[in-house]
């Protein structure tokens, strides 16, 4: 099972994890990426995420399919927010379930690493004294 969601709303972790649970999966691994209050020496106030939504959904689906082809997992669930995300809020949740933990760890790590490389979403960090797009300086 695979579910990919992009949304502006706050992510409700509990509702999310309860969805599509299988009694045959013994190891859930949940990665939660949150907005930090600091970034390269600056104090962050919030982050705006811009998204190329149709392409982002395509890439997220491809990444999930690649993970499903490599590791025997029962469920992959990816939620990525866009728009304004405040300090401490989750910008991304990746939940991978499988019978055995090795699959969950490998699959989860693959998914987040690929998302960071390929999914067309951009962070603009807002500080007390300005804002900056992340990634442009490579």
């Amino acid at each position: 099972m695979k579910q990919i969601i992009t949304q502006t709303e706050t992510i409700n972790l509990d509702a999310l994890l309860a969805h599509g649970e299988s009694p045959s999966d013994g190891a859930d691994l949940v990665f939660i990426g949150k907005v930090r209050n600091h970034s390269r020496g600056k104090t962050v106030i919030h982050i705006d995420y811009e998204i190329y939504d149709t392409m982002a959904l395509k890439e997220l689906n491809k990444i999930a399919d690649e993970a499903l082809a490599q590791w025997d997992t029962g469920r992959i669930l990816i939620v990525h927010r866009f728009g304004r995300v405040n300090i401490g809020e989750a910008s991304i949740v990746i939940a991978v379930s499988s019978s055995h933990r090795d699959e969950s760890y490998r699959s989860s790590r693959y998914i987040i690493d690929e998302i960071k490389k390929r999914v067309p979403i951009w962070k603009k960090e807002f500080y007390s004294d300005g804002s900056e797009w992340i990634g442009d300086r490579n």
Partner: protein, 82 residues
């Protein structure tokens, strides 16, 4: 005549001041030629040249790709989601 829809994101959107615009050409052009055109209109695009990523019809490709009528081209800086 071929018509191309151009989409810009993040810093590229800020530099050019738009998110989406249609371009028409007399004959097929490469993505590189489209970027040349854009740089003529918005010189600051040249600062980003080395880092830009290209997607044609929502699939990553390289800047040598020849565009066809009706293609949607997205040009953007490195992604930073997650």
């Amino acid at each position: 005549m071929i018509r191309i829809r151009l989409k810009l994101f993040a810093s590229m959107k800020d530099i050019c001041g738009f998110t989406e615009k249609d371009f028409s050409f007399e004959k097929p052009v490469s993505v590189n030629e489209l970027i040349e055109e854009l740089t003529g209109l918005y010189p600051a695009v040249s600062e980003k040249k080395g880092i830009l990523l290209i997607a044609v019809n929502e699939e990553y490709t390289d800047s040598g790709t020849i565009l066809e009528d009706g293609d949607t081209v997205a040009i953007f800086p490195p992604v930073s989601g997650g």
